[in-house]
């Protein structure tokens, strides 16, 4: 937010806007049932059939067998038989709507509401990624291979009984510890070894696939017949398309050819290359704008439908 103090007019404007929005929300709650979500609940029970390696879970309650149950809530229309108001989901919709409005308020100028929403996004994202990396990286990849029995009992019940200690996973464990060494005040150079390993393997890993799909395959796709013949004989527009693609590629290549001065035929060809590039950038920009409008449409859809029930 700008450090400059707000003018009295700006303060008044913001106060009026906040008052209107809050009043609108109260009105929407009572007249439109804004944000209210109704659900029907169903308890699902599974029973264990068989033991040890042969154990499977079957839907339904079997007397004497170990069982697990949980409640499945399905979102329904308010007039559905047995529908109840879901407090958790209603709070969720209201939070999402309010945070959407906070973010959109940036269009009127930087303000504390926008800053609050921005901080929440950053905080939640950081925490989410930490938890996710722990479960999908450390547990799912490392621990299941180093201490499979403990991991099965603690976190991954579906881990096959055949899963055994795999010594090769000690290598990434050691490399990870070396990488964390960077945080230590002494011996920071130790982190360079795993870093070098990561850079080397990534470069090697990507080189071949890039050569194949982005270089050789692209050349192959450009060298096609300019005289396209289909089942019905000569095809005019596909032939035009093939000629345009070939000429565009050649002109763009000439534009990026800097060993020769761009004069005469070379200069004119390079000029056409620039036009081709401009058309490409225009198409890219147009598609980007379309994407951004869709994002706005989706948010309005949420506000009008899920929150205000106007649709």
């Amino acid at each position: 937010m700008s450090d400059a103090p707000m003018t009295t007019n700006a303060k008044t404007g913001w106060m009026i806007m906040i008052a209107v929005v809050v009043l609108g929300m109260i009105l929407a709650w009572f007249t439109l049932d804004a944000g209210k979500v109704w659900v029907t609940s169903e308890t699902v029970t599974f029973s264990q059939v068989g033991v040890d390696d042969q154990a499977t879970w079957s839907e339904g309650a079997i007397a004497g067998a170990p069982q697990v149950s949980w409640v499945v809530a399905t979102e329904v229309k308010p007039d559905t038989v047995g529908a109840t108001l879901s407090t958790n989901r209603t709070i969720g919709v209201w939070l999402a709507a309010i945070l959407t409005l906070f973010i959109m308020s940036f269009l009127a100028g930087d303000n504390p509401f926008y800053k609050t929403a921005e901080s929440i996004v950053i905080g939640v994202s950081a925490a989410y990624w930490m938890v996710l990396s722990f479960w999908t990286g450390i547990v799912d990849k490392l621990l299941v291979n180093i201490i499979p029995d403990t991991t099965r009992a603690w976190a991954v019940p579906g881990l096959p009984e055949s899963a055994q200690f795999n010594w090769i996973y000690l290598i990434p464990l050691v490399l990870s510890c070396m990488l964390i060494w960077r945080l230590s005040p002494k011996g920071g150079w130790i982190a360079r070894w795993p870093l070098a390993f990561v850079i080397g393997t990534t470069a090697g890993f990507r080189l071949l696939s890039h050569l194949e799909s982005d270089f050789l395959l692209q050349i192959k796709s450009t060298i096609t017949s300019l005289y396209v013949v289909g089942a019905d004989g000569f095809q005019f527009w596909p032939s035009v398309s093939a000629v345009v693609i070939l000429l565009s590629v050649l002109c763009c290549l000439v534009y990026f050819f800097f060993s020769m001065e761009h004069k005469g035929v070379v200069g004119k060809t390079a000029r056409v290359g620039i036009y081709v590039l401009m058309v490409t950038f225009g198409a890219a920009f147009g598609l980007t704008v379309m994407g951004r409008i869709t994002l706005l449409t989706e948010r309005f859809d949420f506000l009008f439908d899920d929150w205000l029930h106007l649709l």
């Binding site: 499977t56 979102e75 269009l107 009127a108 989410y128 996710l132 990396s133 999908t136 990286g137 799912d140 990849k141 299941v144 991954v156 019940p157 579906g158 881990l159 096959p160 899963a163 890993f205 990507r206 696939s209 890039h210 194949e212 799909s213 982005d214 395959l217 692209q218 192959k220 796709s221 490409t280 198409a283 890219a284 598609l287 980007t288 704008v289 379309m290 994407g291 409008i293 869709t294 994002l295 706005l296 449409t297 989706e298 948010r299 309005f300 859809d301 009008f304 106007l310 649709l311």
Partner: protein, 291 residues
């Protein structure tokens, strides 16, 4: 008047753009969306539809809520199409926040519209795996060294659909819905090109120009942004009119979601073109000394 337009407050532009998008939504405005024969939605449709019923299809939801406006309609469209054809659907995602959408595709779209399909026999989910292109590479070589269990933590050897699958080479088609990296580019580089598996994709508008060079080889079809999704929905409903039934159109994941979003798109584009023309008119007027 011209002076006012020359110094037009950008907030007025935002307000007009907001109205251009909001009003068509509120009044449910829609316009005809012609899909030319031989265009990309047809290519994508044919790739899925021409497979024999019950073929194996790997569907990767590589996007998050930030791009759901563009990609969710086509993701649900792909799911409906595969379910309609009784293809075996193997869901996965390279983006962690793609997993809730996979669950919605299985629980809401398949669960409510195709209740006869059974988890583990007709569809299943590998869930999310970190590692981006390394995950794709592993899928092509040996899936079970990477995915030990499905997303519900069940041993893959105990799931009928995966018990006899060694790698993604067993798939008849890969469908990728992509919002960036990792996404379609990586599926092209590490799966479609080296393993020769047919690949179709749906992507955001930002990505589309970067992916067009991969058409038609190895990318067999591409749905660029919401326009591509709307075309695909149109082709899908024309081929399977039951998908246009009122209850499916009105469901949470409507079979016409993308078509409905083209109305606001049309009005917003008109407004933008008007602004560009107006801006140019004022520029040239001033240049000629009309100010």
């Amino acid at each position: 008047m011209l002076n006012y337009l020359r110094n037009l407050d950008r907030r007025i532009v935002f307000l007009l753009m907001g109205l251009a998008v909001a009003l068509p939504i509120l009044f449910k405005l829609s316009f005809p969306e012609p899909v030319p024969e031989g265009s990309q939605p047809y290519h994508v449709f044919d790739q899925i539809d021409n497979l024999p019923d019950g073929s194996r299809v790997l569907i990767s939801f590589d996007f998050d809520p930030g791009s759901q406006g563009e990609l969710l309609p086509m993701a649900m469209g792909f799911t409906r199409h595969c379910a309609q054809k009784h293809h075996k659907m193997y869901f996965m995602c390279l983006w962690p926040l793609g997993e809730p959408f996979v669950e919605d595709a299985m629980n809401i779209v398949i669960g409510q519209e195709y209740p006869d399909l059974i988890y583990g026999e007709d569809f299943m989910s590998f869930g999310y795996k970190p590692g981006a292109e390394a995950v794709i590479k592993n899928c092509i070589v040996d899936m079970k060294t990477l995915f030990i269990t499905d997303s519900r933590k069940t041993d893959l050897n105990k799931i009928p659909m995966t018990a006899n699958i060694k790698s993604a080479k067993a798939m008849d088609l890969i469908i990728n819905i992509s919002a960036g990296d990792p996404g379609t580019k990586q599926w092209v580089q590490y799966a479609a090109t080296p393993a020769g598996i047919p690949l179709v994709a749906g992507c955001t508008g930002v990505q589309a120009p970067l992916l067009y060079p991969y058409i038609p080889n190895p990318l067999k079809g591409l749905l660029p942004a919401i326009k591509g999704a709307a075309g695909y929905e149109q082709v899908l409903i024309a081929a399977y009119p039951e998908m246009g039934a009122a209850d499916i159109v009105d469901s949470k994941y409507s079979s016409k979601a993308a078509l409905q979003r083209m109305g606001p798109q049309f009005v917003a584009h008109l407004l933008m073109v008007s602004f560009i023309l107006l801006g140019n008119f004022i520029y040239f007027y001033d240049k000629k000394g009309g100010a």
